[in-house]
Amino acid sequence: MTATSVSLDIARDLRSICGPANVAERPVGGIYVCPNSAEEVAAALAFANQHHLTVAPAGGSTERTAAELRTDIVLHTGRLTEIEHYDHGDLTVGVGAGITIAQLGQMVDADRLMFAGDPPVPERCTVGGLLATAAHGPMRHGYGGVRDYCIGVRFVTGDARRAKGGGRVVKNVAGYDLMKLLIGSYGTLAVITSASFKLFPAPRQTKTFLAEFATAKDALQFRDRILRSPLSPICLELVSPGARKLMRPEMTDDAWVICVRAAGSDAVLARYRQELGSAITRELEADAEQRMWRAIQNFGCSEEALAANDACAPDLVCLSVWPRDVQDVIDTLLKQSALTGADVSLIGRVGGGLLLVRVAGKEPGAAGIQKLMIALERVFGDKIVLKLRGAVNPWPTPPTNLASMRAIKQALDPNNTLRGREIF
């Protein structure tokens, strides 16, 4: 059944599941449904399976706007906002998938705790969206990815089975690690309804040290020095000249900047200053520091998109490369952009080889990105993982283990109901 052929009867039936106020017809065709509980999610999915309808889960729509979703049903998680548990003494929390990252952060901040996920647009990005996309921000360097601190997940499979993996404690190896399977699966296997996380003590004080360099090579040598040192900053970010201009248009010089965010006492921060040495050109703290990291977190999101609640930087290319290859990857990107006239800007958690690349200029959008990807794959082969932030298929290079992925998809969503992204 196509989106446009979804009948009024179906809307009526979904209203009986989720309540009349929580079902609407979409201007682009299809039905929009906003369940209030895991039971309602399961009922809606059972209904979709029964009637051979396709479903796309949606949270804050920060990667893809809801209007882009072309399924029969868009299942919005916005009403799944229950706090299942908050055990601040144990540094754990469990919340509904529809809670936003900002809401979660505010809740635990009162107890001087911190949720380590810092994806773009935290005011709109939901817990479910963070898990489904495995999005990351600058704190990925110091605290790991969401796979490292998600300790439990509740979900409804594509074929409408309610289930869970993990639990509420920080250490737990009972059963298969379903958190790992669902994190980054883009809602193609199950709809996440709630999740539990490990929290961290909030740093009492932070400071950010900036070091500017004429070339990416110099900046990455500085990165290597930091990685070999005893320092363990919570963020270690590279900002290209183009990215810097995007974030701060008044900056007109062509510097590559390494941003080091440290947490600790005055003595610890003094040690950072000593170790980083004369390379430091600026130190930021308080509001200025917060503003800079927020700009890095929202890299590529235009003010207009943020104001209009549109998708944030849907054309961003997310690269995961071997840390020692970052330099070569950047060289390849710059060479290619010089050839095609594309304007490439990038930031990245370069300690772990993660880069976010924006393509603009003469050939922006899909064509420009396509050329860059081909160039990168030619040089780096399987040493690089490419992800397209807002694309229908986030993995442009077919994974070598596609058959295993298909087997998993078949096990959890045999009717291919969950179609927010088209991977297969």
């Binding site: 754990t92 190896v173 840390p323």
Partner: protein, 479 residues
Amino acid sequence: MPSSTVLAQLRKIVGSEALLDRPEDLMLYEYDAGVRKCTPAAVVFPRNTDHVAKIMELAASTGFPIVARGAGTGLSGGAIAPEGGVVIAFARMNRILEVDAANMRAVVQPGVVNQQLSENVAHLGLYFAPDPSSQKACTIGGNVAENSGGPHTLAYGVTVNHVTGLTVVMPSGEVVHFGGKTAESNGYDLTGFLVGSEGTVGIVTEITVRLLRRPERVATLLGIFETIDHGAKTVSAITAAGITPAALEMLDGWTLRAVEAACHAGYPLDAGAVLLIELEGLAEQVEEQAEAVRVVCLEQKAREVRRAKDENERALLWKGRKNAFAALGRLAPSYYSQDGVVPRTKIPAVLQFIESVSQKYGLRIGNIFHAGDGNLHPLILFDPRDPHQLEMVQAAGAEILERCVEMGGSITGEHGVGLEKRNLMPLLFTNDDLDVMLSLRNAFNAAGVLNPGKLFPTTRTCREVSGPSTNPVLQAEGM
């Protein structure tokens, strides 16, 4: 059970010197560090991925069970063969294939011993963080299968947090690659899914692990308490002070006396409990945290807080901790180790409960555990020659785990479910939860060839495709 023809084919694959089938040889492979015994039909020692793939193809076509085995140090019966069949022992696939310091990665075969990897990269200032107490013997393949932990996983996470890529032989015999050296994977995170799947989805033949840089300074403190309750309350007080130690271990008074007698680690003989607290990182930070921890311990009625003066003292304190299980072996012919987890604020209550279980069954139970993440290891001492004692020990263990789950915890923090705890899985998981897990297992291992009888309960409704066990020992136990 493999026929003589199949055994001949196996010999052809691995060489006749790499297959054991004489009863006296097989006895070495009928147990792990748990309490059950099951004899395999044969043990094979492959040397490479191709050998494993061929063994797997043979198993798939003739239908004999396969159980992968590292060093056999596991505590959940994961590496024994309750359905008979062939044990694939990885003792000869024990090479470190690559150390890539620039990318902080190493690629190893599954038979590499955990500690050997850290020793091998020490000259580069690097190490492999997961450190099970058995790290001198246990293999990284076993760590991957069980998603093993250790004391320092409090700060650094368990095995899954340190594995970025796997080469896996699937039950069909197909060789697949999941992940690699990159931080993220192309497609679903199948590496994360495979780790901890207890050998029921595929057989791992190469592992890419993350290496960490050794910290500049390490401070090891020993908090000495008059009562176990004071020690237990200190655990969450340290966390509440915003400090995450690299390790935070607890030994009760009875256990530490047994350990001291065996290891001479320097533990006080008259204490009610001790906390072994390790802080790592930048020198300034470690010194501040060490002082903060000392203050918290004293506020929580510690009698004394000692700090290891040098590497020797530190090593001695850890020797006591890591050899504790063996030390308790001096007091009874055997012990049964549990692996329950509770939220760390519930540690005082659960320790009181364990004491009541000890009294109820008249069994001696020692407590030595990863207190920082609430991962308990009650050690129940018993004599396995007395069948009645074994029954009581298992009942006592189950009661403790049930209480852990009631308190919001889990039945296993790092040892895995295996054979030991499979029938406790319904305490944590609903039938639907288990159905989803089973459908994932069956997506790859529908015939139940890989590690049958593990992880999934048999006491609910015989949902496991391979059906209830045919092993007489397990049948006698009602499994």
